[in-house]
Amino acid sequence: MRDPVAPQLAERVVSRRRLLTWLNLGFGALAAAVVSVPIVAYLLSPLLGLRQVWVRLGPVSQFRIGATQEVAYDDPSPLPWAGQTARTAVWVRRTGETDFIVFAVNCTHLGCPVNWLPEANLFLCPCHGGVYYADGTVAGGPPPSPLFRYATRVQDGYLEILSRPLPIV
């Protein structure tokens, strides 16, 4: 296509078009960046809620010395529509008058829920066959490390644990 401008003006027109091109692209990119700030921040905001709190599992008398049992606790501040997902299960093992070990239920291999076999004194993982002894150490299978433990304390006759994110190797 022939440019309709006179030759002596051609250079000016070209630089004017180049300027317009860069301005269009620049302002477009700027607008996109500005708009994406709130969107990205909103999408990543759940990462800010990673605080740990002490949660109450139950009166100490609820746990028999030498036994391992499942206990569930509620997320301290769940979303109103969370339903069952606001709950978290743990394995509690009472080893003495005030001594407790609280295990995460997740296998350290890939997170599946370990089952406690009370007679066999073993945790078995149904996914890839991980096996743990009663103290959480690995007895067999692919798990790379012992079952995760929660920090525990006894407060006013109640067993409490420090909540934590899903344990990850």
């Binding site: 759940p46 990462l47 809620g49 769940p78 997902t85 997170g111 149904p126 692919p142």
Partner: protein, 468 residues
């Protein structure tokens, strides 16, 4: 009447430019030799459309909130008029789409159709392949049953193996430090908005490229792709011996798509969608999580890799598959297309296919998983026993032996079959193994009373393979 219709058509055509802009695309010339191997791409597209239509229908009722998703899906499956069939089409349609896109990918690879000038066809197709797998994964999560819940956990645990940013990736998947109220909606939005939008874009680009470069002609041994001459040669081929895509070639696509659609509909109506089982509930630990069939092979890989290589495989394997597929058209952009002259390509594809089928079967059997809960020992094994051996049978079941060991065809397959262990090991050897354990075998030293141990050894020594 006909004249009126023709008038309407002319009026529309003048404005839409159908006969000028669209028709030449539909009737574009393609090589006459195109055959039945070329139906899988269009069938994948038909399956995708089927998924979009049934997915939109399901979304009219499905409630993507963790406290309602499961119930709404149960309602769709069992109460809504023909809801089970719609969900069934979506379920079997997903399987069909996964199978079809894999066959299409293999066909394209084996026929060398990814070579010049169709490299971008291949790359957009690879993008669609990964998005299809992503749709299959996020879709199974929306059932929000036990399998879905633990699949999210397992996915996050895998993401967490990525160096440096692994934990952040896991928490982004969860929308928080663990599975919670925000997790399901995240996968819902991904499944119904994000991935489909990307797929629409890539499908558009893919089809544009198919028309732009033309459908690749069936390869012939001894006719390699040459960058300097191929496009002119292909244009001459079409000019000399091309036929219009519609209807000379398209009828095969239609027939095959009809067969696929009829098969999916028949399965949906006659077999129906799978039952959901128990609701997603982190406090129900008696779970037996399994992925849908198309991921069972990967489930098997995760069980079978040596522990010390695990993190490398979990992060590296998907990365490697992606990199290999993306680099392929750059590594071999020209040269022979015919599988007869590309033994390595045929070998690699065959090996991959055989491995995946074998691993699928292993994943289905899952011999590495203990049986939970363990079945009872057969009466034929227990009845003849007396005294301590009889007691030993009880110990065998109570102590979890039967979860991992088979006797007379019942029990787990994690450890060796013990049906004839009495004729293989002496009493001392049995005692030693039970007390000290071994590879994958827990040590029972502190866990058995002396009389329990003796009874167990009596029981095992009596197992001489005579059982049914």
């Amino acid at each position: 009447m006909m004249r009126a219709l023709l008038g309407v058509y002319r009026w529309l055509d003048e404005r839409l430019g159908w006969s000028q802009a669209i028709w030449p695309i539909i009737a574009h010339p393609v090589p006459r030799t195109i055959n039945w191997w070329y139906v899988f791409g269009s069938a994948t597209l038909v399956a995708f459309v089927m998924q979009v239509v049934t997915g939109v229908a399901l979304a009219f009722t499905y409630v993507p909130a963790p406290n309602s998703a499961y119930d709404s899906l149960q309602w769709i499956t069992h109460q809504a008029l023909l809801g089970g069939v719609v969900r069934g089409i979506h379920y079997f349609g997903a399987s069909a789409m996964v199978i079809l896109i894999v066959v299409h990918l293999l066909r394209t690879f084996l026929m060398g159709a990814y070579k010049f000038p169709r490299e971008l066809n291949w790359l957009t197709g690879v993008g669609l392949f990964f998005l299809t797998l992503g749709m299959a994964f996020t879709g199974q999560l929306l059932r929000w049953n036990q399998d879905a819940y633990w699949a999210v956990v397992v996915a996050a645990e895998q993401a967490a193996r990525v160096p440096l940013i692994g934990h952040i990736l896991a928490y982004i998947l969860f929308a928080g430090p663990t599975v919670g109220g925000g997790t399901l909606t995240r996968f819902y939005a991904t499944h119904v908005f994000l991935f489909p939008a990307l797929m629409f874009v890539l499908i558009g680009l893919h089809l544009y490229l198919v028309v732009r470069h033309g459908i690749s002609e069936p390869p012939q041994a001894g006719r390699p792709v040459d960058r300097a001459t191929y496009q002119r040669w292909y244009a001459e081929l079409l000019h000399r011996d091309g036929v219009p895509f519609w209807p000379e070639v398209a009828w095969r696509d239609l027939v095959f798509a009809l067969i696929v659609g009829a098969g999916v509909l028949a399965l949906a109506a006659l077999v129906g969608p799978p039952e959901l089982g128990k609701e997603a509930d982190p406090t129900i630990l008696q779970a037996y999580p399994r992925p849908d069939w198309y991921f069972l092979w990967y489930f098997a890989i995760l069980a079978l890799i040596p522990p010390q290589l695990e993190s490398w495989v979990i992060v590296g394997f998907p990365l490697l598959v992606g990199i290999v597929l993306l680099l392929l058209p750059f590594v071999a952009p020209v040269g022979e297309r015919s599988p007869r002259r590309r033994p390595w390509a045929v070998g690699v594809a065959g090996l991959a296919l055989i491995s995946i089928v074998a691993l699928l079967n292993e994943g289905r059997r899952a011999p590495w998983s203990p049986v939970l809960p363990a079945p009872a020992l057969p009466a034929a094994v227990v009845q003849p026993l007396t005294g301590p051996a009889r007691h030993g049978a009880t110990v065998f079941m109570e102590k979890g032996c039967h979860n991992c060991h088979t006797i007379a065809g019942t029990g787990g397959q994690r450890g060796p079959d013990l049906s004839a262990i009495g004729s293989r090991l002496s009493r001392d050897q049995l005692t030693w193994r039970i007390l000290y354990g071994g590879t994958n075998m827990p040590a029972y030293g502190t866990n058995l009373q002396p009389e329990e141990l003796a009874a167990l050894v009596d029981f095992l020594a009596a197992q001489r393979g005579a059982a049914p």
